[in-house]
Subunit: 179 residues, 3 copies
């Protein structure tokens, strides 16, 4: 029954997409990438919010309380005045995982995007959810997800979430052997 499947929340953070000024392409791009990686069937839920800290915080908390193992956001991580996703992350996450941001910026730099250093993308733990910020641009999402996804299922194991398996044809999910 689909109610029992692991749940993944996708949050598009964008004033313009929320107002309907343009179509949200980023949320669907994240879902497509995750469906491609995962061998375990999952239930996806996508939402849109404005670039406002209270809206973003409320949406992240709501996804976490609904039991999402993974929450991916897109947008709002740059230096512009309306970019406030990291401020919401600091407010709601009880642990920050700086290695995600480091590796995503490095992957984007290696892909030939020198402005990757402007991104304040990070990841953190909120209750039993792993929250990962992705870029706003659909074209950059896959670069970042490809870099970090191999570590995502083991992180979800460590915080008490469902056991997710990757499709070995697409991604090499890594779980260290026990010491």
């Amino acid at each position: 029954m689909s109610q029992d499947l692991p749940k993944i929340g996708i949050l598009t953070i964008s004033d313009r997409a929320t107002r309907g000024d343009y179509e949200d392409l980023s949320g669907p791009a994240i879902q497509a990438a995750l469906e491609d990686y995962l061998a375990t069937p999952c239930r996806f839920e996508r939402r849109l919010v404005m670039d406002e800290v209270p809206d973003i915080s409320a949406a992240l908390r709501s996804f976490a309380s609904e039991g999402c193992a993974l929450i991916c956001s897109t947008g709002g991580t740059g230096p512009a005045p309306r970019d406030v996703t990291p401020e919401a992350m600091e407010q709601v996450c009880h642990k920050m995982l700086p290695g995600f941001g480091e590796l995503m910026r490095k992957a984007s730099l290696d892909a030939g995007v020198p402005t990757a250093i402007l991104s304040r993308q990070t990841a953190g733990i909120l209750e039993r959810s792993l929250v990962v910020n992705l870029p706003g641009k659909p074209g950059s999402i896959r670069t970042c997800l490809d870099a970090i996804f191999p570590a995502v299922p083991y992180c979800i194991d460590l915080i008490g979430g469902p056991y997710l398996e990757g499709d070995p044809q697409v991604v090499q999910v890594f779980r260290p052997r026990k010491k």
Copy 2:
């Protein structure tokens, strides 16, 4: 009229240079590098302060309120007791950009300086100014600026500053295409 040119502030943070124990070579080295990169004529303003949080904070705020698009500091980013530049940054900046510090440390490591990991260099946004911390040593300044400068003009665009062009013979300034 030079009053209308984009303004760049350069802050040398050093007890000894401020007291006149030695000549400030770092501030002029930063100005020389930026004049080399930039095709857009700019006005430069250089100041010196002691390694004290209130002095550094006041100088950064002053440059920002005078409309500097870019503020570069040199010195005070190490682990020694008198190194307090990052503490002043945390106090005055409303957004931190960790990707700058990551890339500058990587560039210094790649240049054969293993002690680059001791640097607490960062960058941040203060009002409508981009503030970037550079090393205190003149010889390391160019290594760090070469690494991060391609992303600087676009960052200044995003925070509402003047449009700066680089000299393509010297540096490849990068502006992503709109999505």
Copy 3:
């Protein structure tokens, strides 16, 4: 007299090792690596604590007040609920050195461990001690220490500690020339 030798504290942070559920292999692995690197004879002191912020904080403060030049911890840096080493670090250190965590995660990634991005390892300054977090797994400790050790003696110089020399057959300790 051994009382006058530079002192190094090693803190194993592990519920199970502290309760005696298994033998602490990580603390001794750190000591073995440091003895291998160092040409200067040092006195080592090893302790174990549970994964609790107050216990970790107290142990770090105690090592610092006893004059340890270097304190290495192992364990407690992941995203799991009982992993709280970084929270204790934030509480006791007055300066954080993000370059250590960045380089240790990169070294582990380069060694083929994609889950290195889950580590929240960092380093910081506590009074006149350099505190460095290492992984909990004995097999990953040497990878991380090899990466950062060349910068450790100079950091200890900068915070007023003893002059430590490395064994040039084992490690290339780096001290920049004065400007």
